[in-house]
Symmetry: C2
Subunit: 381 residues, 2 copies
């Protein structure tokens, strides 16, 4: 084996949903031209039967469809994947000797997948980048645990995992509209950091900036979904741009304050990267959390339906085809944590969003949560 | 005269347009209840004949209409002004013994008004707060001059002028929707600063935070209109949320960089106040600069009309009833300044917005301007 071959990167994407396939278009095109990377990009697919667009009565396995039509007809219809992206339903085969794992699967799948992944990746040169937006919470302490950290722990042996976050609505990335993205990683050497960045970076349309602050970037990706619920409430009430902008601003401050309290060494600059303010704006003006919360507010105003959990389920069923909202899960966990630590008074917005979403508090009281409590932690920004 | 009477505040609002009348509703209600303030709020009105809503064929003088109907039927129709707000067309009478001047007139009016104002306000206790959004530029050096500074210079005698900026679309303020506002001032003592804040603050709907950084707050109020032109271009091209969020983010960084270069002691924290990020968001999602630029982009795509100045005039005529856009004026001045100082390469977004707006550069090239040049000045944020 020559040195060149030894140092060749092998990418494996763990997941093949909407965002997984969108990032696969970028990684596939980059892998085909970057000299230090193997051309083939493996994509582990949770195989399921899908209906074929050509014949609505037939189904075929998703991996077969992706490998023959080069399109994920179920989760990213209408977008061609590069032919060097190979759908592989066998996890062992997919991640064999991988040097870069790209995690973009629902995060509850991870515990079942990681032991197999660990046993099959490149023994010394493998690292990960997580695109999963969410937070784990320790059952005992209720403390937040980064998904990237959970991955590192499960992989063991000094495995390092960064994150890619930012204002990256998947369909727009797939249609090659210009956007920015933040890669947060702190691998063993700067060469590895930069190579990882280059694997994702596809100027002029997909522009990746690298920072070191994994915790800040990842926490922003989860917490913005909570703020987006508030944005949806404001929109559902018919309030204007002033109120919504104030909500985003206070939301950003509570996100920063949360990071300052619960994570080490989060950096101020992270909040003005794409993963911070830009992702927050995109999510609050167009994401699914904002849309569902807007619907929630409207239905509450008309129906005064008592059971909030039922109402959210109805909305998820109607607007998301049954998929789960991330913001409602996150705000429940964050509220439990803040209550446990007696910090609710320092987070009037997060608190208001939870109480409106789950305790029957009137939606119109959202504005009471839009204020900054002191500047105790805000110097973080 | 008792001490109490001596210390009584007397408010005079210079201007009675859309924003002037909206802020008059807040100041009027506050003046009526705050013990340290004279109840009457004077509002200097540039008198003009207006059509009466009750009889479309009759006209009356604006000051007469305001004082009888308590409504500015031309610039803020449908909103009642508090009866203690008195429209006064005679400037001398309006500002007689005023202790707080609130400037909210088109800024080209100021040179004609300030000598009369200076001669009539309270001789020792008067200060100003400017709500005017714009920048002056020195004809010789092309350097930016804050309007609050021009006012201070013209008033002389140590007169101090702060600003009130923020995500404050006038109609929403007038309808008493919740919003935040930033008062930037640095008057002789903290008592005066706090009294001024209280005169504007009307919780829970109009929440005023005070900061010291007048230059930062005022510059944000002018520069955001430039970014809003870019936002309109992106919307007109039909791009999605990712691109727009990236544009806002890079726009905020260029605003901060501009302030770091051209003004002394601008503070980082200013950009996360309402006058910074929140006003930028509101303006880029709903303001007149964004709407007109969106129209410009659409017309350019259809017509390829060669003369940009004509096209802007047509749009102003159609969408703004002939009023002038602030963003197009500002970007011309800012471009001339940056060119003069050989700094254009450090401001790719401002540069792109100017070139698209005025030199025939294709609107679709706006995305080329959405990137950050180094971190030379960005440590300011």
């Amino acid at each position: 084996m020559t040195t060149e071959q030894q140092e060749e990167e092998k990418i494996c994407i763990i997941g093949s949903g909407n965002w997984g396939c969108a990032i696969a278009t970028v990684l596939g095109r980059n892998a085909a031209i970057l000299p230090f990377c193997s051309e083939a990009v493996n994509m582990w697919v949770y195989d399921e039967p899908v209906t074929l667009p050509s014949d609505k009565k037939s189904t075929a396995k998703l991996s077969y469809v992706i490998n023959t039509l080069h399109e994920n007809v179920k989760y990213l219809p209408g977008v061609k994947l590069p032919s060097n992206v190979r759908a592989i339903p066998d996890l062992k085969e997919a991640c064999k000797n991988a040097t870069l794992l790209v995690f973009v699967t629902p995060h509850q799948f991870l515990p079942n997948l990681l032991p197999t992944i660990r046993a099959n990746v490149h023994p010394t040169r493998c690292r990960g980048v997580s695109l999963i937006k969410g937070l784990d919470f320790d059952e005992m302490t209720k403390a937040p645990v980064l998904i990237s950290k959970s991955i590192e722990t499960a992989m063991g042996g000094g495995f390092k995992c960064g994150v890619l976050m930012g204002a990256n609505i998947a369909d727009e990335v797939a249609r090659r509209q210009m956007c920015e993205s933040t890669l947060a990683c702190d691998f063993e050497d700067d060469g590895c950091n930069e190579r990882t960045r280059q694997l994702f970076d596809e100027p002029p349309n997909f522009r990746v900036t690298r920072i070191n602050d994994v915790a800040g970037a990842e926490a922003c990706g989860a917490l913005k979904n909570i703020v987006a619920l508030g944005a949806g409430f404001v929109d559902g009430l018919g309030f204007g741009g002033n109120t919504k902008a104030a909500l985003l601003r206070v939301g950003l401050l509570e996100m920063a304050q949360f990071c300052a309290i619960f994570f080490q060494r989060v950096e101020r600059g992270t909040f003005i990267e794409s993963c911070g303010i830009a992702d927050l704006i995109t999510t609050c003006y167009g994401g699914r959390n904002k849309r569902c919360a807007e619907e929630f507010a409207k239905l509450k105003l008309i129906e005064h339906k008592a059971n909030c959990d039922e109402l959210w389920m109805d909305i998820e069923h109607k607007l998301l085809n049954g998929q789960k909202l991330q913001g409602t899960l996150a705000v429940k966990e964050v509220y439990a944590l803040l209550e446990n630590r007696e910090l609710l008074d320092s987070f009037p917005l997060f608190r208001s969003i939870f109480e409106i979403a789950f305790t029957g508090r009137p939606v119109s009281t959202i504005t009471e949560g839009i204020h900054v409590i002191g500047k105790r932690f805000v110097s973080n920004l």
